[in-house]
């Protein structure tokens, strides 16, 4: 093998949500009504390898499937198709102790620090429950361990008897991070983890993520719609549109010039504090429904460069330069 083994590998991972017909609809369908199961193709055939110690930014707009992909990676949702590997081992088929081990190594930090913490538990219980259950620490050492984890995320251990509602948004997000860190993970999936925070608090939490990465050798899948945040943190950026990956590139190269028309449009819309009095020239149209994606390239109805082929044939994700991948027919021309 030429490349070192990735920490996390995704091969052809898809996730579909199906809404089956209810009884009345099934009867109607029997009688000739045109009704069928509704299938949302949330994530379609994603291939991705994340190296150890890497920070991969996953970017896209609402409904592009980035959060679903994050949940599949974190093991919260099972993949409908495809294979996930962790340190070379297939974790989609793993069972028992091995599955549990993989699940512990990958932890998730959620967007809403108000909804993701149990309001009836004290911070010490929120942070201490999982390591105790999984036998990482004994009951005797638990209090000290919780204090240590709280300190590592910048919370005063004397807060351990408090309830989530007694914290501000930024502190609550720190509790969420402490909970994830308490089981000594290697891989963190952060789903819009700073989106709900004020700018000055967001900077504090982003700095904490970077500090923790150094200290615990963490690998991140950092999901965000905020390209500024992703640019700052990530080594590599993955851009999704309507369930599919459209471009993968090292961060500097992507921000120097994206290849895929959607990626270019997205980058052009990023508002920067240095771009004054700009004339906005937006991409037309909206993201199509994943219930009924357009044929061919999903972006073609909004793409200014679409050609005939884009309407009929789906472009595959191809390598266009070392480490850079893009799914666009225009790369075959020239």
């Amino acid at each position: 093998m030429s490349a070192p083994q990735p920490l996390l590998g995704l091969e052809g991972v898809s996730k579909r949500f199906v809404r089956r017909l209810d009884l009345a609809e099934r009867i109607a369908a029997r009688l000739g009504a045109r009704l069928r199961d509704q299938v949302v193709h949330a994530v379609e055939e994603v291939d991705l390898a994340v190296a150890e110690g890497e920070v991969v930014g996953l970017v896209g707009e609402s409904g592009c499937g980035k959060s679903t992909l994050g949940r599949v990676v974190a093991g919260i949702l099972p993949a409908s198709e495809g294979r996930l590997t962790y340190r070379g081992k297939d974790i989609t088929k793993a069972a028992g102790a091995e599955a549990k081990k993989a699940a512990l190594k990958i932890q998730m930090i959620f967007q809403d620090p108000f909804a993701s913490l149990n309001p009836r538990l004290k911070v010490a219980e929120i942070v201490g429950e999982a390591p105790l259950v999984h036998g990482l620490v004994g009951r005797a050492e638990l209090a000290d361990y919780v204090d240590e984890v709280l300190t590592s995320v910048g919370l005063d251990p004397s807060y351990r008897r408090r309830y989530p509602h007694q914290f501000s948004g930024g502190q609550r997000q720190r509790v969420g991070i402490a909970r994830a860190l308490a089981v000594r993970p290697e891989f963190l999936v952060c789903d819009e983890s700073v989106a709900a925070l004020d700018v000055s608090i967001q900077a504090q939490v982003l700095n904490l993520f970077m500090e923790l990465r150094e200290r615990f050798d963490l690998t991140y899948l950092f999901i965000s719609h905020d390209l500024g945040v992703v640019e700052h943190l990530s080594d590599r950026v993955v851009i999704m549109y309507l369930g599919r990956v459209v471009e993968i590139a090292p961060t500097e190269q992507l921000f120097a010039g994206a290849n895929h028309p959607y990626a270019r449009a997205l980058l052009a819309e990023v508002l920067r504090i240095d771009s004054r009095h700009r004339i906005f020239k937006p991409v037309e149209g909206e993201i199509p429904s994943p219930l009924d994606p357009p044929p061919g390239c999903a972006f073609h109805p909004r793409c200014p460069h679409a050609i005939g082929r884009c309407r009929v044939e789906r472009p595959l994700l191809k390598q266009i330069a070392p480490g850079r991948y893009s799914a666009c027919h225009l790369n075959d021309q020239s």
Partner: protein, 329 residues
């Protein structure tokens, strides 16, 4: 009266307080600013800075336990603070309109779009239904909604989030108001949809000369859209001025800190410049300058008394004892 020189909206020493059981929260504490015809003013601040309450106070929409306790809001010369509810109702949606972060605050979920829009026109103008409907259709077309005639008979839930916000903007524009107050209208939207909305707002304000107050926490939006900016902290405007001047040469340490914590302003990988601590509760503000506990420039005199507003240069205001770039005495 020289109509051109007079600002469309002038807020003078506005004070709004919330009388809660735990004490009096001074959510808006002596805020003054003005907006001229065709001008875009960005009102920037973090959660709890009083920026939204300022917006609500201008339209007289503060509910108990909140109350405007002082100051004036002059809309085309008329003081809205003294105006009765009847007069306010005649002005809201007519001469002054508001766009909310959540468009469902504007839209009634059980009424069709045309019903809501025709009502908004006919409440202020004596026109017949056909004319009101025509105006509604034109307004939808102006904000970039495709097939406005068909969309008029749809219900709010049949629109996407971005389209719904456009409908809310169309309703705000319906009676060609002199002033629009927009409270974080693009915060919940995606990047490409946000750009579409900003594009429409920019075009419409440029064409009609509507004065726009854009309330947001996002400095990048202000930088792209606004002509002038007011930065709020704990109920006060701590710094204001032209966008270029304030963002390029911030004088207040809070403004400088906010700009410093924007990721794109920092080099990749290096820690972000962060403001320590968090926004204090309005019920327990530190004495003197409210920012002093988080401020890198704070000295003993900052605790003694709150800094008065001064004008460091033409067109700018500042409330700080020890501004950025001033030698410590």
């Amino acid at each position: 009266m020289a109509r051109t020189a007079e600002p469309l909206l002038r807020v003078e020493q506005l004070e709004t307080q919330f009388f809660t059981r735990a004490g009096v929260a001074r959510a808006v504490d002596g805020v003054s600013f003005e907006v001229a015809r065709g001008e875009v003013l960005g009102l920037v601040g973090e959660s709890g800075s009083g920026k939204s309450v300022t917006g609500f106070s201008i339209l007289g929409l503060v509910d108990p336990p909140g109350r405007i306790v002082g100051g004036r809001v002059l809309l085309e010369g008329e003081n809205l603070v003294d105006a009765g509810e009847r007069r306010l109702r005649a002005l809201r949606g007519n001469r002054i309109a508001m766009i909310f972060q959540d468009p469902m605050m504007t839209l009634n979920p059980v009424l069709r779009i045309d019903t809501q829009m025709i009502e908004a026109v006919r409440a202020h103008h004596g026109v017949d239904r056909a004319e009101a409907r025509r105006r509604a259709r034109d307004a939808l077309g102006r904000v970039g909604i495709p097939a406005p005639e068909e969309r008029l008979s749809a219900y709010p839930h049949q629109f996407s989030g971005g389209m719904r916000q456009r409908v809310a903007i169309a309703i705000a524009l319906l009676n060609e108001p002199a002033v629009i107050i927009a409270d974080e209208p693009t915060t919940a939207l995606d990047v490409t949809i946000q750009a579409q909305i900003l594009y429409e707002m920019q075009k419409l304000c440029g064409e009609s000369g509507t004065a726009l107050v854009w309330i947001t926490h996002d400095l990048a939006v202000v930088s792209g859209l606004a002509d002038r900016v007011c930065v709020m902290y704990a109920g006060r405007i701590v710094e204001s001025g032209p966008v270029d001047a304030v963002l390029d040469r911030p004088r207040h340490p809070y403004t400088a800190g906010l700009i410093g914590s924007v990721p794109s302003r920092n080099r990749r990988g290096v820690p972000l410049a962060q403001i320590p601590g968090m926004t204090p509760s309005l019920l327990a503000l530190p004495g003197g300058c409210a920012f002093r506990t988080r401020c890198p420039n704070a000295e003993a005199d900052c605790a003694a008394e709150p800094p008065a507003e001064r004008r460091p240069e033409a067109g700018r205001t500042l409330r700080c004892h020890h501004p950025v770039g001033e030698a410590v005495s």
